[in-house]
Amino acid sequence: MTMCRHDLMREIQTLSFACHDTALYLDGHPNDARALSYFNAQNAKLTDAVAQYENNFGPLTANSIEYSDSWTWIDGPWPWKYEANAEM
């Protein structure tokens, strides 16, 4: 099932925040097995969610652009626009 753009973006924001916050903790606790396994699990989910988003709604990084006739990197809305953001 394909989620809508805003729901999928919210999912990516949640997963990437979980990865990032865990990474901050791991910087100071590099051998914490529980944190490492939590990071890996969230990061795997994040990779899937990003692939699903990019296949349906366009690139999140310039390097992830698939071949196409035009450079879709510049297609709006840019992330700071009101319409680009999900209702909370």
């Binding site: 990437s16 310039a62 990197w73 510049i74 297609d75 709006g76 840019w78």
Partner: protein, 209 residues
């Protein structure tokens, strides 16, 4: 959102420390035409920029400038490693050392800390893009002056790379200015500011169809 890539854009490998060189090169970190100002200028201007192509150029060049901040810091840090007190006093690095030891702090060569007064965000397409064109040329001149002052191939190689990027960015901001002008009223570019005024011209409506 940004993610950090654990690599330099171009390698920095300086065999011989030289604190006198560090003291002039640090201007491209915290000086009036330095990389910190460049990144801040472009990444700030993009929020009100109405044309997606130009927003892309500001975002991507601004991001590259953050990588140049890191390269200048790498140069300064390698030039100031393993210094003796004698070298610090003899080189003139003592006036920086007294406040910052061998830490990397954004100042100009003459010791003035970084200031947002070095950048402009006017909220006007033509004013901001022409500022960016001038900024790239001013940074190019600073790199030319560094090449006149520095005689170390390890350092000059990296400085030449950074200097070349200023020229490339100048070209890309030239593209940005053309794109903006194509979308504005060619009879009077100054009739309205598309970053603020809501007047729609036929040409603007046709934009990117």
């Amino acid at each position: 959102m940004w993610l950090y890539d654990k690599k330099l854009q171009y390698p920095v490998k300086i065999k011989n420390p030289n604190p006198a060189y560090a003291k002039v090169i640090i201007s491209q970190l915290g000086g009036p035409d330095g990389e910190m100002g460049a990144a801040t200028r472009y990444l700030s201007q993009r929020y009100s920029m109405p044309y997606d192509e130009v927003v892309g150029i500001l975002t991507d060049i601004g991001t590259e400038e953050l990588a140049h901040v890191e390269m200048i810091c790498a140069i300064v840090s390698q030039l100031t490693r393993n210094l003796s007190m004698e070298e610090i006093k003899r080189s003139g690095f003592d006036t920086y050392f007294v406040d910052h030891t061998a830490g990397v702090y954004p100042v100009s060569a003459s010791g003035i800390p970084f200031d947002a007064k070095y950048i402009g965000v006017k909220g006007d397409v033509i004013a901001d893009i022409t500022e960016d064109l001038a900024a790239e040329q001013k940074a190019r001149v600073t790199y030319d002056n560094i090449l006149r002052l520095v005689d170390d191939p390890d350092v000059c190689d990296v400085i030449r790379f950074l200097r070349q990027r200023e020229l490339t960015h100048f070209q890309r901001f030239g593209d940005a200015l053309s794109i903006a002008q194509r979308n504005m009223n060619s009879k009077n570019f100054y009739g309205y500011n598309p970053e603020f005024d809501k007047v729609k011209t036929a040409r603007q409506t046709m934009h990117r169809q």
